[in-house]
Symmetry: C2
Amino acid sequence: MARILRLNMAEKSYVWEEVKAPYAGLGGRAMTSRLIRQEVSPTCHPLSAANKLVLAPGLLTGATVASSGRISVGGKSPLTGGIKESNSGGLLSQKLARLGVQAVVVEGRPDDGEFSVVRLTKDGVEFFPATEYAGLGNYETMARLWERFGKGVGVMSIGQAGEKRLTTASIHFADPWGRPGRAAGRGGLGALMGSKKLKALVVDDKGAPPVPLARSEEFKLAAHKWAKILLAHPISGQALPTYGTAVLINIVNEAGALPTQNFRRGRFEFAEDLSGERMAELIKQRGGKTKEGCHPGCVIQCSQTYHDAAGNYLTSGFEYESIWAMGANTLIRNLDEVALMDRLCDDFGLDTIEWGVTLGVLMEGGVIPWGDGPAAIAMLKKVPTDDVWGRIVGNGSAFTGQALGVDRIPAVKRQGLPAYDPRAEKGIGLTYATSPMGGDHTAGYTVATNILGCGGQANPLVKGGNLKLSHDLQVATAAIDSTGLCLFTAFAVLDNPEALPCIVDMINARYGLALTADDVVSLGQAVLRDEVSFNRDAGFTTAQDRLPDFFQEKLPPHNTTWDFSPEEIDQMWKGL
Amino acid sequence: MARILRLNMAEKSYVWEEVKAPYAGLGGRAMTSRLIRQEVSPTCHPLSAANKLVLAPGLLTGATVASSGRISVGGKSPLTGGIKESNSGGLLSQKLARLGVQAVVVEGRPDDGEFSVVRLTKDGVEFFPATEYAGLGNYETMARLWERFGKGVGVMSIGQAGEKRLTTASIHFADPWGRPGRAAGRGGLGALMGSKKLKALVVDDKGAPPVPLARSEEFKLAAHKWAKILLAHPISGQALPTYGTAVLINIVNEAGALPTQNFRRGRFEFAEDLSGERMAELIKQRGGKTKEGCHPGCVIQCSQTYHDAAGNYLTSGFEYESIWAMGANTLIRNLDEVALMDRLCDDFGLDTIEWGVTLGVLMEGGVIPWGDGPAAIAMLKKVPTDDVWGRIVGNGSAFTGQALGVDRIPAVKRQGLPAYDPRAEKGIGLTYATSPMGGDHTAGYTVATNILGCGGQANPLVKGGNLKLSHDLQVATAAIDSTGLCLFTAFAVLDNPEALPCIVDMINARYGLALTADDVVSLGQAVLRDEVSFNRDAGFTTAQDRLPDFFQEKLPPHNTTWDFSPEEIDQMWKGL
């Protein structure tokens, strides 16, 4: 029987709650967004006791379904001031699901200021003082928690950035090797966790039974088919396992949509040095490993272990967006420098995309020279120290821009824009502008169609068709994010007409339901309604659904501009 | 013939423009807000070339009318992101009016990054490189400009804070002694001026004729009566000239509405040490001077020269709100420490109220101990230096709170709240919440009625009547701010039924019109319509018309809370 676990951080107590309306039947992002919409005042201060941090495994998480181990983390974002769902892999989600936990809600705020570790097992919930972990990075925190509570337990933790309540702090999840390379990165949910004084949540599912299946045989058939569908698609079956997401560096650069030097150009002449092909080559030379999954049962396996030149472990979960942000965006072309920053961000618990966008703003303001990797690394290392620069840069691109008086800030709703220039990938520009998450690519990944050619063809350089594309993908993604399936399953879903029915079959067989594909669309719409209405009540209007004015400059090499009118953009959520 | 002067800072050029619709007949705040509403994109970045800085003397400024020399400064606020009118005394406004300049519009932004000084005389406009002034504070800047361009010229300048585009930077105006004690303090318009690379504007009205009077005799009679009305009122005729605005310290403390220790209590046990009575006593002992006017022809003369213990000039224009902010709010009880910070803020060009509220947040976050004046002064001194703390604190209370992860931030629309606790002065709470300026007291100074008993009686501790009071005063103030009359004339206007007709008579006689008191109300409403609609298009909703949640705590000694519901607050601009 699935339940909701509520942790009261003020009293270090907890209650179990039956899952009733309006939460019944929800998972992942549908659960986190509904709960925040229902229980969090949209105008509260994100770091006040009134905000809540919510975790929810997806509807399919915990069962034997390929690539279904994602977790949704939600709250009122300390960065954007709007609602936030940030999505991560790692071990914890499947364990929560196996313990029958449909959501964990972290509430209140202790007066004493002491951090806690909370452990959840089949026998119950325990609070421990986190004195010995406070001030540690995620690497050391996870290592010590595995040592104390057993190798292989699920861990969710924050580093020093979250402890300091910096608004670009991320929340990290141990991968199958106990490393923090997996993160709910965006929107500063690590600061929210820090404000709750929760250093780490440990989940151990030892002795838990398998998740119940309403129609077991039907479920197994569908799950088998699902794995085959994923493996058969060239992106999830070949490109991602071979090169990781960094396979996109050369592709997006070729498309002229790789934002270079704080979004001044769409091509970086040294892109090759940062590419997935180059990374795979270095991994091979140095004894790292490609093709790792972030959670058991993932068949896509886009992760990797990246070693330094001396052959020692440097980082993992080394993504395209991170490499772009800290690389092409800043003109830093040394992949090892970028990898070190990726490692440090994971350790301190800082969003890699926001860090890279912030670096661009620091370079814009003349604080760090363009392309200067060592200076960038030195600045990043200030985040966990008492150096007050850390308090500026750890609050992100918009904040750093304000500190420096810089007005060329590529952000929407104060969240730095990711790795696709909206002038050469117009669909993603609409997603950036209108997603309730702020400047975000995963919320409606039009790149899949516009640049990768999945689900049809659309021209990324012109407006036509992109409004519908972004809209439909935002709705579909809200649904996918509620299932616990990795977003990278979407390539197959877009191309293979059997994929979506297969997902519906799995959900139906798991819960004994009779949903149709239309119900999945309805679910996505319901999620977005919760999110858009929360933001409206938090004080957002369509005036915030805008890209910065400088996107009206021409972007080489295609020399296109951002030319959607406000009226066109504002069609997005009409009739939602 | 009155004209609009447009300065193009990108090309260092200017044009004169005839005043036509929609600007004809407007002065002061009516002019600045109309111009911004018409010409500035509400969604532009406040520091981008698209924003404009607008100056406008009031409708009565320049003529011989008591206390009519105020200037309105407007723009999209770098602090709040909404529209801003900030109002100042000083010499410049009357000189602009005598030169027939109804508004100065500072536009564009130079690429070369060099600061300019612009001088306006009856013979024309000149641009000078500001190389020798860049990096100087306002005291030295004004002294050098008087030396160069003549003692007694009008000067408007920014200090280092404005040059750095810190979003709480103020714009300063030379008083009759060439000191920068007069400021358009709130909303960071100094950062806007800094972004335009305008270090100073010098206005010399030598040789200019008197302002034309359509009906001269009628005007003189009304103006004579006006001066008598002001002098006959106990506040403008006695209290303000004798003690300055700091006369309010004891009064507001007695009322239990003096926010103490970052808005925790309504009484400060050492208020007496900071009082106007104490200040007057020290001024007498040390050879300073009370009863100075910020511009020629002011009969209220609320300003003063405050000397240090050694008898040397320390500061001037030393106001109640500044003393409260840096004093009771921070538990600093040494008036000389507060006076030194007042002096430094004037010199660096930083809003004194925001600085005091920011100090409260710094103390809340443990960066400076409560009541530690020397530490506060040391922090303030970092603003003009390369110390990066200056870039945090110079961006104000909300920004500093985000840097520190502090959530007890007394601000509305990111502007720190002034010197009256909204739980013990509920009318002003409504003004804070709903003024398009953000947390501001001058926009609808209900204190006049609630605590000072002008214009009737209302209980500041209960809700009843305060919505209408705040509304009517906000409308009236928008009109007063358009005449160039000092807000301190409002006490007499509230109490003396002959005062408003007298103002209308002066405007009619000056311009040959036949306005009625109703037209003045309509003007105020029109100003607010421009402002509220600009903010709406900038993305503000009623969700930003809220006080921070912590005002639901009880405030000693009256133990009242902020208990207006959102629905009650949202009546304010219904039907505007």
